[in-house]
Each structure stands twice: as C-alpha cells, then as structure tokens.
C-alpha cells in the first residue's frame, strides 16, 4: 500500500462499527493474519471511543479523521480529533490486578501497539499515532499472566 486509506466518521458511537468494518476489509485484502487483525481493530476502536468520550465529551456532531498505512508488515494509524486537548501524561494503562469496570481501553492500546504517541502541539484537538510491526509476531500479544517486558 503506497498511500494511506483515509476515513472520516462523525463522533457518534454508532459509526464505530463502520471504521471497524473498513479496517477488517483492509486487513483481509492485505492478508494480515486474523489474530493480529482482530487486535489492531480493537485498538483503533478503543482510541475512537476515547475521543468520543473525552475529547468531544459525547458530542456526536464532531469529526474523527483516520488514516491507515499498511506496508512491509507494519501498520500505522493516525487519528485526528478537534476536541478538548487532554493531559496526555494522565493516559496511563491501569493495573489489572484490581478487577473493576472501566479503564481497559488505554491498557489494550498500550499492550497491543508497539508505539503510541499523542501530539497536542496544534491549535485544536489531538493527533494520535499508533504503530504495530507484526512480521515476527507468532504468538498472541498477551498470554495469560504474561505482558510485555
């Protein structure tokens, strides 16, 4: 893929399934192993959910811009919003030892993706960039009781 696939969706949770379907089709036609594809779809979905919840604070009439690159066994996604800029230093995955509802989305993103960066150096909103290299990925990213080193 020499150019990105671009998708713009409203910040309405009912359109999250649309971005998932586009990604699933992209991964299928590029023959990304289904085990990896499922996890990448989850990460993008969680990131968009966080934008709806925190950046746009539930306003369904804003915009989320997604760009997907898939080349040489590397997947990169850039997700741009124009909502409230949050303190990205507070975006920390929570400890899983305490089983409680909520707060898992950021954990999933950091557990699955190799690189995650938030850029707020702009007048409005945030640019989230996530990258995953999966050439040598032969086992699930997380097995019971094992995380990343």
């Amino acid at each position: 893929m020499n150019q990105p696939i671009k998708l713009v969706i409203p910040s309405d949770a009912k359109f999250l399934s649309l971005s998932r379907k586009v990604l699933q089709q992209l991964f299928a036609c590029q023959e990304v192993p289904s085990e990896i594809a499922r996890k990448l779809v989850l990460c993008v979905d969680e990131a968009c959910s966080n934008i709806i919840k925190y950046s746009y604070e539930g306003d369904p009439n804003q915009t989320i811009e997604l760009s997907f690159w898939l080349k040489d066994d590397q997947f990169t996604v850039k997700i741009r919003d124009y909502g409230k800029q949050c303190d990205t230093s507070t975006f920390k995955p929570r400890c899983l030892d305490d089983v409680k509802p909520g707060g898992l989305g950021t954990y999933f993103i950091h557990e699955i993706m190799d690189q995650v960066s938030y850029c707020t150096e702009r007048e409005q909103g945030t640019l989230l960039t996530m990258t995953k290299h999966f050439k040598n990925e032969t086992a699930p990213a997380a097995q019971q009781g094992q995380g990343k080193p």
Binding site: K100, G102, G103, Q144
Partner: protein
C-alpha cells in the same frame, strides 16, 4: 448497529441471557440496562451466552465485570459461555479468562 437481548428462565433460579450483535460503546448501555434488573432479583445464577457476539470492546467487558461483582457480593454464579475468537482475544488481553467462570457451552455452565 443493533443488538438483541433476551433472557430465558431455567430451573432452580438460573437465567440464561442470550446476546446477539457487537458490543461496543454504542450498544453496551443496552446490555447494562438488560442485565442490571437481573442482578436485583435473587437469582441463583446468571449465564450469559456470548456465542452470538462477534465483537466486544472495553465498555462491554466493563459491563460483564459488573456481573462478576454482583456474583462476588451476592455469592451467586455469573457465568459466560460460547466466547467467539475475537471476544476470547479481548478477555485474554485483559487477563480475565481465569477471573470469570467461562464455559464452552451452555450445558456445561448449567
């Protein structure tokens, strides 16, 4: 995106909840609305059949964790059956497969 939920009363205070559809930020409130009244009744066990759920996100997991908490506080059972590969992945990543009581089939869970 739609989600369908129905419950089936069994013997001995066991209720099975069947969910059909993807559970994400837009549908998890409906799942929570459906399950919460069941927690308020004195059930012996709630079995959630996820075989019709091709996708679940963290908000869906959070809803099911509420069921787990009900189970712990009431000393009743909250069991999951029929996890599809995608749903199982999410439980694995969250390290929740050993926290929930998970069964392959409804028959095993009852």
């Amino acid at each position: 995106m739609s989600i369908e939920l129905r419950s089936e009363e069994g013997q001995g205070g066991v209720v099975t909840v069947h969910i059909e559809g993807e559970i994400d930020m837009s549908t998890s409130p409906k799942v929570r609305e459906f399950l919460t009244p069941l927690f308020e009744k004195n059930r012996k066990a709630i079995v959630v059949d996820l075989s019709g759920v091709p996708y679940i996100d963290s908000s869906g997991i959070a809803t099911l964790v509420e069921g787990l908490q009900w189970s712990h506080s009431s000393k009743n059972k909250f069991r999951l059956v029929g996890l599809t590969p995608t749903v199982k992945d999410v439980f694995e990543i969250a390290r929740l497969l050993s926290v929930f009581e998970v069964f392959d089939s409804r028959e095993e869970a009852l």
